[in-house]
């Protein structure tokens, strides 16, 4: 009897907190996204009206408005492309790094892993700010390029999409390396030797042995980078220019500048549906089908 009470306490305390402060806020976003906008405070009408009997007052206008305007669609596509490119570069840099760390001897391995992840602990904002210093017109990168004679005058490195990609790859790299390392660390290195002994060349060994075995790590790492990057606001704001608009910026301005709460909510809710739901479903299915949970 006592155990039951105790279990309930453990299960329901966080349950209560998360329903109240996480699920209900999400529901409110949805509610406001289907509300009729109006001038006033708050800038939307109630979805239930009681003046002439009970009436439900909802609209999908906000979604139509977003999905028919290239300004919003274009920004979302820009963000998806940005996330895709950044994820690709994180993988390109992260994979060899994770692979070589995983194949080091055990003492070195732990030291290297800590060294790779430690920068992730230092402030995110300040790491982005560091790139602002590096990429200045009279910054260190331009000084190096000038001295090497690669360019004769300082390049405009800051305030464009390349600077944004640079900043993202830099700040999100550890998120790619960790899950990759997790999977690469698990598999038996003798498999590589075996495949070489069986006559497969390096190229084939990589594509037939190493890549399939580390596939779950690649998927996990890519998701951990891709999803937050689509909603990234700070990095484009600090390092980006006016050449491209991104989802995060549009959402921010729709809310704080245009004061269009229903529009901003519709943008946010579309973002949840498009980005997060597929992964959550995948995760729930995955945890149902796999006997042992792993992270």
């Amino acid at each position: 009897m006592k155990n039951k009470l105790f279990e309930k306490y453990f299960v329901f305390s966080p349950y209560f907190w998360l329903v109240l402060f996480f699920f209900i806020p999400l529901a409110i976003i949805f509610k406001i996204s289907i509300s009729v906008s109006e001038w006033g405070m708050p800038p939307y009408q109630n979805i239930f009206l009681f003046d002439n009997g009970f009436k439900i007052n909802t609209t999908f206008e906000n979604y139509v408005y977003i999905f028919s305007d290239f300004y919003y669609i274009g920004s979302f596509v820009n963000s998806l492309i940005l996330a895709l490119i950044s994820t690709f570069f994180c993988l390109l840099i992260g994979f060899p790094l994770a692979f070589y760390i995983a194949t080091s001897n055990i003492r070195l391995r732990n030291i290297l892993l800590v060294l790779v992840v430690i920068p992730f602990w230092s402030s995110f904002l300040l790491r982005v700010y560091a790139w602002k210093i590096i990429l200045q017109n009279n910054g260190i990168l331009n000084v190096i390029l000038l001295n090497l004679g690669i360019t004769s005058e300082p390049l405009q490195l800051l305030y464009n999409q390349y600077a944004v990609i640079m900043g993202i790859v830099y700040t999100y790299l550890p998120l790619m390396i960790l899950p990759l390392y997790g999977y690469l660390n698990k598999f038996d290195l003798n498999l590589i030797e075996a495949s070489k002994d069986l006559g497969l060349n390096r190229f084939k060994t990589f594509f037939k042995v190493i890549l399939p075995l580390s596939a779950p790590g690649i998927v996990a790492g890519s998701l951990l980078v891709f999803i937050p990057v689509v909603g990234e606001f700070i990095i484009p704001e600090m390092l980006g220019g006016s050449d491209r608009l991104y989802y995060g910026k549009i959402l921010w301005e729709e809310f704080f500048v245009n004061r269009n709460w229903p529009g901003a909510s519709a943008l946010a809710f579309s973002g949840i549906i498009i980005l997060v739901l597929p992964i959550v479903i995948f995760q729930i299915l995955y945890s149902r089908f796999s006997q042992k949970n792993e992270i």
Partner: protein, 264 residues
Amino acid sequence: MKSSLIKSTVIFLGLFFLYFPILVLIFYSFNENKRVMVWKGFSLRWYTELFNNEQIIEAFIISIKIAALSATFATILGVMIGYSLVRIRKIPFKSFYIFLSSTPLVLPELILGLSMLLFFISLNNVIGFPSSRGQLTIFISHVTFCIAFVAIIIQARLTDFNKNIEEAAMDLGYNYTKVLYKITLPIILPSIIAGWLLAFTISLDDLVVASFTTGPGANTLPIVVFSKVRLGLSPEVNALSAILMFALIIIGLFYFYFNKKFKH
């Protein structure tokens, strides 16, 4: 021979890429010149100015306070989730429970921040609380998204460790509660500390959610720093960066120490 050369090169370049920007930042923090990019000479001037900057000091104190409190709450609730998911069979609507406890890990901060702000505004319209946003609303938001990070650490730790110890204690006459407090919690204590440190750092570092849920008198450190460097560079922020990076890296090392303590 050749492959080990490639290996060392890749690792060296990778680490160089990760540490170079941090070193640049620390280097420029010692620049005497007000114009950050023009080197004038070594000086601790900006460190002195930093400690005399009341706005930054005040923001720092607010941030530490919110981070410590929200990490503590998030750790308590996160431990409960981790424990429930591994040890308790009957959880009503378990998929929903997993959804609630894992989605904050991937949800873009911007969406989370917006939903919290609209929630607080709606709540205020209905029950008249919270009448204005500030430290309390930031605290609630930070607890909410830090819970998931603690839960995942605890879940991993509990999955790892041998259930037999708990069962043996039960056989010896310990009741459920006693097993938890005398056996389970002490064993996973390093992971609990690691979870707290992670939550503390995440809260301390958060800009986006805090920007949405802040109010008068609740400018956290990232908010102040962002307002200073959004459009340009600031020598005081350079000095702050150097100190903060150093402190956070120490916290990170502690995290690794506690998280790995019982792994072989």
